[in-house]
């Protein structure tokens, strides 16, 4: 650490300021006397509850689908692997609205998969399930990318040793591989949760917006801007606090 050149200090601090200043500016705009009333209104609480509920579900889905996917990408080899690796990261670079449009043409009522579900009487459009799908779509790459990196860094020596001692593949996975990458798994899951919590574009494009079933906190903020900017600022501040708590939690769980 001592070898850092001194000139790094100024742009570094500028960078920190660049991130922190808007947060301070927003906090300064909150009408504190009204804060309690604004964030406990029925629509705000419904949005907060829905956001937490859908983001937790999305994070869980990310783990269920993302861990096996990361394992495949890091440990197996098959033709097209490198292409697949690039493709699963696409939601990271796509504007979320584009993700929403893509989901609409997949799971919408006339969509590739959706029209068959419609025949079975399952409708995803305008449901909380649609919100979870949108959030999972944008959040999944975060888990995959952090876990795959950790798996590569960890290497396969311990796995090979365990296998040579007679452990079956599932036992190697649960007793050697996963414990080795646990910190990355935890931080990846927290990142997924955080990304799902902030999801806006794909949700509003694909799931719609209705209090209690699809209007998450970011959508509520966007809507409140139209009629009650003060409420929007208060809710933004609330979302920021939740975000800070998540980051704090992730940092504590995963020592650098």
């Amino acid at each position: 650490m001592r070898a850092l050149p001194r000139w790094v200090l100024i742009p570094g601090l500028l960078g920190a300021l660049f991130v922190l200043l808007p947060l301070v500016a927003m906090a300064a705009r909150v009408e504190w006397t009204e804060f309690g009333r604004l964030i406990t209104s029925e629509s705000s609480l419904a949005a907060l509850r829905l956001s937490l509920q859908t983001s937790l579900t999305s994070a869980a889905v990310c783990v269920v689908l993302g861990v096996p996917l990361a394992l495949l990408l890091a440990r197996s080899s098959f033709p097209g692997l490198s292409i697949l690796r690039s493709l699963v990261l696409i939601p990271l670079v796509l504007p979320p609205v584009v993700g929403g449009i893509a989901l609409l043409y997949t799971f919408g009522r006339q969509g590739l998969v959706g029209r068959h579900l419609e025949v079975l009487g399952v409708q995803i459009a305008f449901s909380t399930t649609a919100v979870v799908l949108a959030q999972t779509f944008v959040a999944l790459p975060f888990l995959v990318i952090s876990l795959e990196g950790a798996l590569r860094t960890a290497g396969t020596r311990y796995e090979a040793a365990a296998a040579s001692l007679g452990a079956r593949p599932t036992r190697v996975l649960t007793h050697v591989t996963l414990p080795l990458v646990l910190p990355a798994l935890v931080s990846g899951t927290v990142l997924c949760f955080a990304r799902a919590l902030g999801e806006f574009g794909a949700t509003i494009t694909f799931a719609g917006s209705l209090q209690g079933s699809t209007r998450t906190l970011p959508l509520e903020i966007y809507l409140q801007r139209e009629s009650d900017p003060q409420a929007a600022v208060a809710l933004s501040f609330l979302l920021m606090i939740v975000a800070i708590l998540i980051i704090a939690l992730a940092r504590r769980r995963v020592p650098a």
Binding site: G108, R109, F126, L210, L219, L223, E226, S227
Partner: protein
């Protein structure tokens, strides 16, 4: 040997970051210059902030205005009226503001940003839009409340949602929409993609969507006529030019352009 190597390594780490930061600074600097350019050219650029629903007729009117004023270029910003008012209040360089409803224009007037009293120049009413073929057999407002009809409307907070509320009231029905969208464009989108069986949008939106939707008129739409007001902005350096654009919009030829896109006359 060891000392120089130690010093070299952090340098390697820092260089890409420094390059990125430099890039950022250059970008910020460049956009700063950009603003300067706009200031310099402002004498010949008229900036019109207009409600999103006005895009097609206003672009046509903008061309007419440019044809009549050789050295003037008309630039538009089309967005939700409330967004535009907020931006003008924060000092956005608008010369003219055309709102999709009166409350948003009132906000502008309350902030004393109008160069002259706002003038109503168009009206718009709601219409039921259904996907082509009308899969849910929607016939009137009452049929929108039937089970299994996926109805999408605007949220109460935006002008088209407020109009929807007035229609509900006067028709004595209560909708149970599957979604309350942020803008009328979002509602129309849900209908054209077939996600929704019906949506309440403006007459002009149905016209704009062409073959993708069918419009169904209903008598109660008279209870929620949206009036569009327009005004030049007082902070503008070229109020006169702004007023000329307002005059064009309210003139007979301007009104005819608006007629063509389905707007009513005030």
């Amino acid at each position: 040997m060891r000392a120089p190597r130690h010093r070299a390594r952090p340098g390697h780490l820092v260089r890409p970051a420094a390059a990125a930061l430099l890039g950022l600074l250059v970008t910020v600097g460049a956009s700063g210059c950009g603003t300067g350019d706009v200031d310099a050219a402002e004498s010949s650029t008229l900036v019109v902030y207009a409600a999103a629903s006005l895009q097609e007729p206003f672009e046509e009117l903008g061309e007419q205005f440019e044809a009549a004023h050789e050295d003037v270029e008309v630039e538009f910003d089309f967005a939700g009226s409330s967004t535009l008012v907020e931006q003008i209040q924060q000092g956005a360089p608008a010369d003219v503001f055309a709102s999709a409803d009166e409350p948003n224009m009132d906000t502008l007037v309350d902030a004393d940003l109008q160069a002259a009293d706002p003038v109503p120049f168009a009206t718009n009413t709601l219409m039921i839009a259904v996907p082509t073929g009308n899969p849910a057999d929607v016939t009137d407002l009452a049929s929108l409340t039937h089970d299994g009809v996926n109805l999408v409307v605007c949220a109460k907070a935006v002008p088209c949602g407020a109009a929807t509320g007035r229609v509900e009231e006067s028709a004595g029905v209560e909708f149970a929409p599957v979604s309350e969208e942020q803008s009328v464009t979002d509602v129309l989108n849900k209908v054209t993609t077939g996600e929704a069986d019906a949506g309440l949008v403006y007459v002009t939106d149905v016209k704009k969507a062409g073959d993708e939707v069918e419009g169904i008129d209903f008598p109660e739409s008279d209870s929620a006529v949206n009036t569009y007001p327009i005004t030049a902005i007082s902070d503008s350096a070229q109020q006169e030019l702004g007023q000329e654009f307002v005059d064009l919009v309210t003139s007979e030829s301007g009104q005819r352009v608006l007629d063509g896109y389905g707007f009513g006359r005030p």
